[in-house]
């Protein structure tokens, strides 16, 4: 266990911790919002696939000596578009197509980085490095997160409609393909940002966990979204504190806190089921 008062010097706080906090909260917000849509649309595979593509691109970018983030974001956005089209039209079925495509991208990246002998550099991104982000990376990710948030808020009602019932939305003249693409692009941006901080292996589950926890607790869409945001941000803060204290990996700590929240959230529902086995009767008599 670390002595927190020894680590948390004013200099450490202002140079490392504060930027990490700001960027981490921004990304937690975005990932939980999009996580709700991904889980409800039954396409959490897209988040996972994009994180593989993102990691592969990152490897190539580093091997080539390009700025990692600024290359990876547009590539992953393009991949989001391709994945969406694949899952719409593929005869293989969406999940299979996504798995094939993302594994190929990942393999290409690992191939490039092993050729350039970068394995140590690159493994940084496998597990995330929120406390080692450069100032420009922090600013870049905060700006992108704010964009994701704004777009999400502006199209909140339409995202609900498209998530709840695609066919009805299409019949009433909504451009469902456009909104699906929008969700995929926002997911892509969030995945890349989250990958830098929390690690490529964990980011997709970081998107899904808060959404699933919120869905156990809430019955209205808005409540689910708000709860997911709250859960995501608190898990991030607790996880970060925990990782400073016990000197553990940030991404893994945040995931474990999320798991804890999920288990706690399952308790009330399980208890209710025990007490009143017939859920429908309960709601009718209210």
């Amino acid at each position: 266990m670390n002595d927190l008062s020894a680590i948390l010097t004013p200099e450490y706080i202002s140079v490392i911790l504060l930027p990490a906090l700001i960027a981490g909260i921004a990304v937690s917000l975005c990932s939980s919002l999009l996580g709700v849509s991904l889980v409800l649309k039954r396409c959490s595979m897209i988040g996972d696939g994009l994180s593989h593509v993102g990691y592969g691109t990152l490897c190539i970018a580093i091997a080539m000596g390009w700025a990692p983030m600024k290359v990876t974001v547009p590539v992953v956005i393009a991949a989001a578009y391709i994945l969406l089209r694949l899952s719409e039209s593929s005869r293989l079925g969406g999940d299979t197509a996504i798995a094939l495509f993302s594994a190929s991208a990942l393999a290409l990246g690992i191939f490039a980085s092993s050729k350039a002998n970068l394995t140590t550099d690159v493994s940084h991104y496998m597990f995330g490095s929120i406390l080692a982000m450069s100032r420009s990376d922090v600013i870049f990710s905060v700006i992108l997160s704010v964009c994701v948030l704004l777009v999400y808020l502006l199209f909140y009602d339409k995202i609900f409609a498209v998530t709840f019932d695609e066919n009805f939305a299409r019949a009433t003249g909504l451009n469902v393909r456009f909104y699906n693409l929008m969700i995929a692009v926002l997911t892509a941006v969030t995945v890349v940002l989250g990958m830098m901080m929390m690690g490529a292996l964990l980011i997709s589950s970081l998107m899904i966990f808060p959404a699933v926890t919120a869905m156990r607790l809430c019955k209205r869409f808005r409540a689910v979204v708000l709860t997911a945001v709250a859960v995501s941000v608190s898990c991030f803060l607790i996880g970060l504190l925990f990782s400073l204290w016990f000197d553990t990996a940030v991404g893994a700590s945040v995931i474990l806190v999320n798991l804890l929240f999920y288990i706690i959230s399952s308790v009330p529902a399980a208890l209710l089921r025990k007490i009143q086995p017939n859920g429908n009767e309960r709601t009718k008599s209210r």
Binding site: F160, F168, A171, T172, G173, F221, A223
Partner: protein
């Protein structure tokens, strides 16, 4: 000019031609039931009417001031919706989204419209309840209210009675009659229940694998196709799906 005019259309499902030379019209004030065996192209036809798919040959035109996004649609429920966390109000409001790209949020008018439809369908008391916890009949009314938010002219229902018990089905027919007669909304309903269709609708479109029929209910009952499908059942006094006054009995 009719709301919808189909002339000599061909419907394909994947690469299989399921219907050829199909023609019919839907005018303002119609109550049309589309019946036919499974695989005869009912759901493909519905996709065309909704603009989710284009007809493979022939013409489908909209007229009489009806725009494509002014059709209210009651879809069959998907598995996703049955477990979706949303309140009744949220679901009904989502019918008000045909304002277009530049109207990001619901307006006061949208909210008033949603409240009005919930009132009409008697689900105001359920507004804050969770959609997935409602009974099948209640869910159907919520989706109907959403569809009514999307239209003032034409309602398209896809097998709305599937999975509902007879009493609830009776209720739904009564609601549809109210919407049709009091609100002046034109109805197109896809159903597999030919007997009920004949009793409640004004016109029938029967699309069969070999032959099809389009005309009034009375004509349908006299037609070869109608006789074959209605069989002995036309003589039955009581139908378990609509215990209330049948049109046929009322006219006798």
């Amino acid at each position: 000019m009719a709301y919808i005019t189909c002339e000599d259309i061909t419907l394909r499902y994947e690469s299989l031609t399921v219907q050829e030379h199909l023609s019919f019209t839907v005018r303002k004030g119609d109550y049309l039931c589309i019946v036919g065996e499974n695989g005869s192209g009912k759901s493909t036809l519905m996709k065309c009417l909704l603009g989710l798919k284009s007809v493979d040959a022939g013409t489908l035109t909209f007229g009489d001031g009806l725009k494509r996004n002014e059709i209210g649609y009651l879809p069959q429920q998907s598995q996703i919706q049955r477990s979706f966390p949303a309140s009744v109000r949220e679901v009904v409001l989502s019918g008000c989204l045909n304002g277009g790209f530049f109207h990001p949020f619901y307006t006061k008018a949208d909210k008033a419209r949603a409240a009005e439809q919930m009132q009409c369908l008697n689900i105001t008391a359920l507004a804050d309840r969770c959609y997935r916890e409602l009974s099948g009949g209640q869910q159907q009314r919520v989706l109907l209210a959403r569809a009514l938010c999307a239209t003032k002219k034409l309602l398209l229902l896809d097998e709305p009675l599937t999975g509902l018990d007879p009493l609830v089905a009776t209720e739904l027919y009564a609601i549809l009659r109210h919407i049709h007669e009091e609100h002046g909304i034109t109805i197109i309903m896809i159903t597999h229940d030919v007997e009920c269709a004949v009793r409640h609708a004004k016109t029938i479109l029967h699309i069969g694998k070999k032959d099809s029929f389009f005309g009034s209910c009375a004509e349908y009952e006299k037609s070869e196709l109608g006789k074959r499908f209605l069989g002995e059942n036309t003589e039955q006094e009581h139908c378990e799906n609509c215990a209330h006054g049948h049109r046929k009995e009322a006219s006798e």
